[in-house]
């Protein structure tokens, strides 16, 4: 995947039209994420009802990859159970090659399960940017950890 394809596919769309952008008054869980090396920032708020994420909001500033990843994430997690969100997070991180020894999805044969999120697989080819794509997911993990 060329850089141009990466951006064109969906990153730019989510960057310019972020989904679920904003905040939730009385969130059940929230966390602020920050990448000190490049300055990306993401704040995540979620409402949880009976083990299911019923609403999510994200705010932040940073590069297109971090912000698009946050937007895609917000879209993907609503109406999912905490367990399936945990699985999704693992899948995305493995797709980004973040967990050592974890095979990850094959970027050449993207399945359909991850939808827009598949675009993030392309980031793997630009190693300095992996942290950008990962930031929202790590921040989400932190937010959800506070609900345990």
């Amino acid at each position: 995947m060329s850089l141009e394809e990466l951006y064109r596919q969906v990153i730019l769309d989510h960057y310019r039209n972020p989904r679920r952008s904003g905040s939730i008054e009385q969130a059940d869980a929230h966390a602020e994420g920050h990448n000190p090396l490049c300055g990306d920032e993401v704040t995540i708020e979620v409402m949880i009802d009976d083990g299911v994420i019923v609403d999510a909001a994200v705010r932040g500033r940073g590069c297109s990859i971090s912000q698009a990843s946050a937007s895609m994430m917000a879209d993907a997690i609503v109406d999912k159970s905490l367990e399936s969100v945990a699985t999704l997070t693992r899948q995305v991180k493995s797709m980004l090659d973040i967990e050592d020894g974890n095979p990850g999805l094959d970027p050449e044969r993207p399945g359909s399960v991850l939808g827009d999120l598949e675009a993030l697989a392309g980031v793997k080819q630009f190693p300095v940017r992996i942290k950008c794509a990962d930031l929202p997911w790590t921040t989400l993990e932190e937010a959800l950890a506070t609900t345990d």
Binding site: D40, R61, C63
Partner: protein, 408 residues
Amino acid sequence: MNPTTVRADFPILSRRVNGKQLVYLDSAATTQKPIQVIDAMNDFYRRHNASVHRGAYTLAEEATALYEGARSKIASFLDADSPREVVLTRGTTNAINTVAYGWGLYNLKPGDRILLTKMEHHANVVPWQLICRHTGAELEYLPLTDDFLVDTSNLEAVIDNRTRVVAFSGMSNVLGTIGPHAELIQAARSVGAMTIIDGAQLIPHAPTTVHDLGADFVVFSAHKMLGPTGIGAMWGRMELLEAMEPAEGGGSMIRDVQLDNSTWADVPYKFEAGTPPIAEAIGFGAAVDYLTKLGMDNVRAHEIEITRYALDRLGEIPDLTVYGPDDTSMRGGAVSFTLADIHPHDLATILDQQGVAIRAGHHCARPLMRVLDVPATARASFYVYNTLEEVDALIAALHDARRIFDVA
């Protein structure tokens, strides 16, 4: 000075990156190294390596002569009165911390003030914050004008006899702005404040001497002037160096060590605790030789030429904003900019695909980013080996970024 001939001395410049010829435009972060510098360090390790100052054998003597020879070269480069005024540090950051801990910790008290500017690198902010925490002194900042200069219009109201330290960047690593040295130094002197010029960008890029600058301390890093990582210098006025305490303690900086207290070695050794960066000093000396041979006037003339060309060509790109003065007599070759809504990191990644290496981020100057009201900028910066053709490559890659990001 012909950049094309100069380039032949820099092995890395023939590298290809992502299938393209490397266009290295990040010299404000660190410069590339000529073969003369690399070879000087090699030769040291292959033929003369030994610890300095304490040996009574041939290799140690050779190593000491090379190490002290480097100090002398740096002293000449600055036109210092004596090599003893040159303390070899680990870099600019280490040098500023040395003054902060060696002078500030012993001399500042609650109510005292340290004056900085809003364009300082974190290296000239954080050490002072630490010292304020320990001493109760306070920080003040000179603002910037709308045209990216240090605003001295209110200087007399800001500097008074509570001001004990005035520390500022000789040349901004973000804006390129060359500070109003003479004015700040004179104002500081009039209230008896100690002055430090962060010369990390200034010394590599402009012909100057410590006499011209007139500060009490001038600090800079080798790796930004063709030298190796791991070393820098702190030039200081002899009276101050003699009065100042060492920041770090250890071997080589003592006259005697008793169980409960110690006395210090003479300047500059008092400030060089432990085994110094020996090979690095020798590489630093070779870098200074190289720049001296090019001639710092020529270095500056080339920088003005390429910066002028870059500013003009960047000006042709729609939706591009440059942060920094346009007048090349008031600036160096670090050119910060943003392009439409493309985040600087995205810009850097796109340019890298074309082999063009620029920096993106806050450039260790978060207070300045807040003044500019941007989270980050892209920055291209130039040095002796850069050519006008490389500026063209930058411009072409920026057009590419506009296309990829569909900037109207």
